[in-house]
Symmetry: C2
Subunit: 467 residues, 2 copies
C-alpha cells in the first residue's frame, strides 16, 4: 500500500507533481490514445503554473487522497497558485461534486485509473467557467458546466479540456448537475448501446437505490413496457417502486435469483451487474437466450473501510470467466463497462450525454440527490455510500461549512441529516451493505459489531473501524 504513510500535512500543490506520472494503461488493447491530459492538468496546477505575482493570492481548497486506506485518508488541503491554461482548456470554479463507487475503490487502492497518492480524486463536478484557454470557442466565462474527468475534480478549482464539459440546462441545480454525468451516461450506454433495450423486455438492476440504479430505472421507464427487477434493502422499496422498479427484491432476506424466476421463469433480457464475483455467475445464468449481462464493477470487493484482502481474493477467485463455446450454445452476451476507462472516447460520451440531457429537458429523468456534504465531511459522505445508506446520489458541495457545524463535527452526519433530510425515513438508516449475508463470516473479525451498530452509536464508529 504505497503512500499509506505519506504525511498528509505536506500535501499541497507543489507536491503534486507526482500525480503526472503516467498511469498504466489496461492490458486489453484499447486503441484509443492514452487518457488526455485533462485530469492530470486539473490536478497538477503547480506543474503548469508560472510564478505569477498573484500566485500567493490564489488559493483553493482541495480534497487529497494521502494514502490508501480508510475514510480519513482523504484530507482537505489548500492548494496555492493560479493554474495556467493550455490551449483547449478551461478553468472551472467548482460548485458541487459527485461521489462514485470508483472513488471508494480508489481510496482502498482498488482502482487503477487513479494515480498513486497523493492525488485529488473526483470524476464529476459542476461549476462555473472562470477562465478560458486559447482555442476554446464553445465555452465562455460565466457558463455553467458539468465536468467529466478521470480524476481530480474534488476541489474548488479544476482545469479541464473544454471537450470534457457539458453546458448545464436551464433550471438544473449544481447538485443535480454534479449527480448526473457518471450515473446517467453509465446507465444509458449500458442499457442502450450494449443492452439494446427494447419494449417488453426485462431488466435486473442491482443496488436499485444507488446512483446508477436510479438512473437505470428511470431510463428503463423511457421504453415501453419494460419490467424492472431491482434489488435493495426492504426499507428502500417504497422509494424505488415510486421511481419505477416493477419488482423490488430484498436481497438480504431473499434469494434474488429465486425471486426473479418466480416472476420471470425464462429469465431476463438484461442484467446490470455492479457486484462482480459470484453474483456475475448468477447474472449469467439468469439470462434468457439473446440476453445480455453487463458487468460494470466489483463492489463485492469492498468490505469494510480498508482493503479487505479476503474480500478481494474471494472476488478474484469467483471472478466470472466465460468460454466462447458456452456463449454460442447459450446465445448470450457478456459485456463490461466502466466510464473511467472510456475517457479517450469523448465523442461517444458526448453522444450519450446529448440524449440524456434531452431526456432531462423532457422531464423523463431527474437525478435523485440522497444527501449533500461539505468538503470537510467527505469521510462521512463516503461512509454513507459505502454502507449503502443512501437512496440516490451522494454529493459534495464546495460551499464553506458553517463554523457551528465544524465544532460539533463528531455529530455532523446527524446534524446534516436533520437539517437537509427531514423527510428521510428513520428506517433508511439501517445498514444495507451489499451482499452482507454472504460476507458475514469474512467480516466478523474486522468489524465484530457491524450489524448491531445503530445510528446513535455512530460517534464512536470511526475509531472502531480503524482498528
Amino acid at each position: 500500500m504505497s503512500g499509506e504513510d505519506a504525511p498528509a500535512q505536506q500535501q499541497n500543490a507543489v507536491d503534486q507533481k507526482q500525480e503526472t506520472k503516467p498511469v498504466e494503461e489496461p492490458k486489453t488493447e484499447t486503441e484509443s490514445p492514452p487518457a488526455a491530459g485533462a485530469a492530470e492538468a486539473a490536478a497538477t496546477p503547480a506543474a503548469t503554473t508560472e510564478k505569477v505575482p498573484e500566485e500567493e493570492a490564489f488559493t483553493y481548497r482541495a480534497l487529497v487522497l494521502t494514502g490508501y486506506g480508510g475514510y480519513d485518508k482523504v484530507k482537505l488541503q489548500v492548494k496555492k497558485g493560479k493554474p495556467v491554461l493550455k490551449a483547449g482548456e478551461i478553468m472551472v470554479r467548482v460548485k458541487a461534486c459527485g461521489l462514485n463507487f470508483a472513488d471508494l475503490m480508489a481510496r482502498q487502492g482498488l482502482y487503477d485509473r487513479l494515480p498513486s497518492p497523493p492525488v485529488t480524486p473526483g470524476m464529476e463536478c459542476s461549476g462555473v467557467v472562470e477562465a478560458v484557454g486559447e482555442e476554446v470557442t464553445d465555452r465562455k466565462v460565466g457558463d455553467k458546466v458539468m465536468v467529466l474527468s478521470r480524476f481530480g475534480l474534488w476541489q474548488e478549482v479544476a482545469v479541464v479540456p473544454a471537450a470534457h464539459t457539458f453546458l448545464i440546462p436551464d433550471g438544473m441545480s449544481f447538485e443535480d448537475a454534479a449527480a448526473l454525468p457518471v450515473n446517467y451516461i453509465t446507465a444509458y450506454m449500458m442499457l442502450f448501446d450494449f443492452g439494446n433495450l427494447r419494449p417488453n423486455q426485462s431488466v435486473l438492476v442491482h443496488a436499485a437505490a444507488g446512483g446508477v440504479g436510479i438512473a437505470a430505472t428511470q431510463l428503463c421507464k423511457t421504453v415501453k413496457d419494460v419490467t424492472v427487477f431491482g434489488t435493495a434493502s426492504a426499507t428502500k422499496h417504497e422509494t424505488i417502486s415510486e421511481g419505477g422498479v416493477t419488482h423490488p427484491i430484498d436481497y438480504r432476506t431473499k434469494d434474488y435469483v429465486e425471486e426473479v424466476r418466480k416472476i420471470s421463469p425464462k429469465g431476463l433480457d438484461i442484467v446490470l451487474d455492479p457486484l462482480g464475483g459470484s453474483d456475475t455467475h448468477k447474472a449469467y445464468n439468469l439470462l434468457k437466450p439473446m440476453g445480455k449481462l453487463i458487468t460494470y464493477g466489483t463492489s463485492n470487493m469492498l468490505a469494510g473501510q480498508k482493503k479487505n484482502l479476503l474480500a478481494v481474493a474471494k472476488n478474484w477467485y469467483h471472478q466470472f470467466s466465460i468460454h466462447t463455446l458456452s456463449l454460442i450454445q447459450g446465445n448470450k452476451s457478456v459485456c463490461g463497462f466502466h466510464l473511467g476507462y472510456l475517457d479517450g472516447e469523448m465523442e461517444l460520451i458526448s453522444q450519450a450525454m446529448d440524449i440524456v440531457l434531452d431526456l432531462y429537458k423532457q422531464g423523463k429523468i431527474k437525478p435523485r440527490i440522497d444527501s449533500t456534504w461539505h468538503l470537510e465531511q467527505v469521510g462521512d459522505a463516503m461512509r454513507k455510500m459505502q454502507e449503502r445508506n443512501n437512496i440516490g446520489k451522494v454529493v459534495l458541495t464546495t460551499e464553506p461549512m458553517p463554523e457551528e457545524e465544524k465544532k460539533e463535527e463528531p455529530k455532523k452526519e446527524d446534524k446534516k441529516e436533520d437539517k437537509k433530510k427531514d423527510d428521510k425515513k428513520k428506517d433508511d438508516k439501517k445498514k444495507d451493505d451489499a451482499k452482507k449475508e454472504e460476507k458475514k463470516d469474512d467480516k466478523k473479525k474486522e468489524e465484530p459489531k457491524k450489524e448491531e451498530k445503530k445510528e446513535e452509536e455512530k460517534k464512536e464508529e470511526p475509531k472502531k473501524e480503524e482498528k
Copy 2:
C-alpha cells in the same frame, strides 16, 4: 465415433426410431424448454406412422447421415410410410434445402444439436404444404413455405410444426427460399440484436463470400455509411465488392489484422467471428471501446473431410476465454450466437424473419446462390462448401437427377457447373480454405497435395481424400 460402422443399407424409416432419443442439452443453463419435437417428428415418420393401407405406396427419398466421417457418410435412401401429423404440424413437400456449416460440423460429429446417426440432417428447406394437422390455422395445403428446424429437412417430405414455417413471398424462388432463413436470421440477429449496428460504424465480416458473409454484408448496407471489411480469397474480391464489402482482404496472403489497422487504426465496432480459436483473440483485440465481438462458429475446427483431432484440439486449446475485469477495462462485449441452439425461441426468430422478409420485398437483400445440387450430389455440394469454393449459398434440390448425369457421376460437378453456372468465373475454382496458411502444417499429412490440386484433377479427388 459412434455409428461410424452402422451399415448404411439398413437405413430406412423403421430404423430411425433411434433418432428420437433425447439430445443432451448444452450445459450453459438455457431456460427455454428443450427443443420442440419438430425435427424429431420430421425425421421419424415411422414412430408416428400407423399401418395404413397407403403406407407401402408412400415413399420418399431422404439423405441420411449413416455415421460420422467423410462426405460419403451422407447417403441417399428411401423412406416408406406416410407420416401422421400431430396437432400443430404440417407436412411439406420439399423443393430445395440449404447447406450450412453446422451440417459439415455435424457430419464429423462436431455438432451436438444433431442426434447420433443414423439421422437426416438439414436445418432449412423450402417447399409446398401437402397436408395440415389439427389446430393449424395459418397454413393450408398448397402454401409455399420456408422451414427452419434443428435437423431433418434434407428429404423430400418433412413434417414440422407450422410455427417453424414462414410463407414464401411472391416471386421468391424455392432456391432463394431455401437459402434465406439460416443465413439471414443469423446475420440479422448478430448485427442488430447483439451488435446494435448504427450509422458510421465498421464491421469485419469473415468468410465474406460465404452464406452468412453475404447476408451480413447486405444487411450492413441497409444502415447508412457502414464500413464493411470482408475476408475472402483474392479471386472472390470483385464479387464481394459488388455485394457491398468496402475493403476486401485476402487473408491468405495478408495479415487481416494489419490490413484493418491500416484503414481503421482505432479498430472496429463489430467483428463477426465464425472461425473460433486464435482468430477470436484477434477479433477481440481489434475491437474499439464499446465494440462487440460476436462469435458464431468454430470453422477452424474443420480441417479435412473427417474429424481432424489436431485441428479440434488446437481450437480448444486456443479457445477464447474472457474475464469480466478485462471486459470492464476494455469496455467490450463478447457475444455468442448459433441459431441451432435457439430453436426454443420461435418468437424471437419470427420477429427477425419478418424484418428480413420485409427487406427482401423492398429489394434491399437477396440471397446469392452459388450452386444447386441434386440429392445424389450432396457429397460434392458439401465438399464445395467445406473447401470454400463457393460464393454464396450451396443449395440442394429434390428435383430428380437426369439419368445422363448419373452415368457420368465422376464428372458431375463440372457438368452441373457448366450447365447452371456458365457465368461463373474460372478463377473461383481455386481453393479457398479458411485459414489454410495457419493450418498448413497440420494438414500436410492428411492431404499432401491439397494446395496443388486444380479443377482438372477433381475426378481423382474423392479417392485421394478418402485415404
